[in-house]
Symmetry: C2
Subunit: 291 residues, 2 copies
DNA sequence: GAACAACGATGCTCTCCCGGTATCAGTGCA
DNA sequence: TGCACTGATACCGGGAGAGCATCGTTGTTC
């Protein structure tokens, strides 16, 4: 196979159609240039130039090869440039995990920031629950996660991203919808509450349990569900009330009324950014610096 | 700038993630391979691999560069292959000149043959009168011409391609259209004949002059035109009669009747293939071998 | 037509790069 | 703690490539 140096030599000769001038352009002398071209022709098994003592002309094969050679050289320069951009974090690829609910809150901000901070980078999005995101971070198939706060290993770093209110989601016509202003926790006593799954939505499950326990309020837990969407769908069918993060109110349902709830902590729902401490993706660090 | 050899080395290591095995695959020993990769990283100014004594892993930049490297190597192999095909005449580019009239006769056959003989070649077509084709052949901007016979230099080779009849083109309603069978030359005595230009359609001009002179027949030369199309357009307007090559009868005009003419030579119109004796386009020679 | 100028090819030399062998150094496992 | 494995390093030899000098050919000019 030929050499990139041979290609640059050939392109110079093909453009100058003059060995001595081409050699000057290449900052070398004419004899080794002649030999390089001959070597290239031998490697290819094809004559690229017709040389007489007074003129150098491209053969048809040479014309064809000139185009190819320019392409290969251009691609090589681009590759060198691109790989430098990836290494400095100007370009590259960032895979971001997010929970379904965060698609309505933090994800938009995050993507906007990414577009500004690393405009050349490709952003790959994957919707996953918190637990799966942590697994994906561990095996490096995720660069950054948007998760509910949870216990993480020592090689993960987290940063609070956003805090949200909890809103009550009530079926239209429900008695509590008539109330003026914010609801109180006590209002949920004895209500049929659509509850979060203790495994797949552990964070919300424990958050609600703790809120009600502290307030000595005991709703009726009728269903356990893992996704905010599913819970709202059931509220919409009139099958109970629910407490959902503020961002979920962006989903419009015909038969759901959202109302604020007075809580000891005004914005109890947290969302964290999480990434591996020793993640070596420079684009990720560029993004993190801008957050 | 890096080397293609470095790229193949890098691709091997990146695929094996193991220097010793990669070295075996490359039929070399491990130490020079390690140095090649280090050299490549130095050239790029970017770390491509994270190596510990127990594992080799790609950095994000390395992953990006792997894709680029594979692309460059593939393109290089294709270039080598393509240039060999051009040099053997399997592929390449053939520029063919043709006269407007020959588009209706020989050109179709020629293109069909070219498609079979050099299926990988690009055929570039240029419509030009004979005189311009000869000039283009001389400065190598044409590989092959379809011309009317004419005097050519010693560096051109010609070969008869096809012979055609001359047909009489008569305006509908003209007295001669009533005749049974073929016309004779004498029928043109005193007729208004649309004539070919002595400069731009020299071949037809001289052919007709010679035919009429030999037969001692003198038509009335009303107009001198260079293209068969133009002549037929005027016949269509009833402005005279004409003699045109057989192939032109493929053009359908509402008010033209074509009739055969009895001539001393039954197919007096010749069309020649012409090319430079020392044309170095291998694809051209492949095509000529099939004609 | 003879001398000259221009240009690519060739011969020779030297240097440096590349590949091989031997060996070192760090790490995971038994 | 020792062993096996793996990549890095030291050193050496051969060959490729660059430069210098020169040759051979060809077109030009007086």
């Amino acid at each position: 196979m030929f050499t990139l140096a041979q290609l640059t030599s050939f392109v110079a000769v093909a453009e100058e159609l003059h060995f001595t001038r081409a050699a000057e352009r290449l900052r070398m002398t004419q004899p080794p240039l002649s030999r390089q071209i001959r070597q290239l022709e031998n490697d290819l098994g094809v004559q690229l130039l017709n040389r007489t003592n007074k003129s150098v002309r491209l053969t048809p094969a040479g014309r064809a090869f000139l185009i190819e050679a320019r392409g290969i050289l251009r691609q090589s320069e681009n590759a060198a440039l691109a790989v430098r951009q990836v290494s400095t974090g100007e370009a590259g690829s960032i895979t971001i995990g997010f929970t379904a609910a965060s698609a309505h809150s933090m994800l938009g901000t995050l993507l906007r920031t990414a577009r500004e901070a690393v405009p050349l980078a490709e952003i790959v999005l994957r919707e996953m629950v918190t637990r799966d995101q942590l697994a994906a971070l561990a095996d490096n198939s995720l660069d950054l996660g948007l998760i509910r706060p949870s216990v993480t290993g020592p090689d993960l770093r987290t940063r609070p991203a956003v805090r949200e209110q909890l809103l009550a989601a009530l079926p239209a016509g429900h008695a509590l919808t008539a109330r003026e202003g914010a609801l109180r926790i006590a209002d949920f006593h004895g209500q049929e509450l659509l509850m979060y799954s203790p495994t797949e939505a552990r964070y919300f499950h424990e958050l609600l349990i703790s809120i009600f326990r502290t307030a000595h309020v005991t709703p009726v837990y009728s269903q356990y569900l893992s996704q905010v969407h599913s819970i709202l769908a059931l509220v919409n069918w009139g099958l109970g009330v629910a407490l959902v993060p503020e961002a979920a109110a962006q989903l419009r349902y015909a038969d759901i009324v959202f109302k604020p709830v007075e809580l000891p902590i005004p914005e109890p729902v947290e969302l964290d950014l999480v990434w591996r401490r020793n993640n070596d993706n420079p684009a990720l660090h560029t993004l993190l610096r801008h957050l």
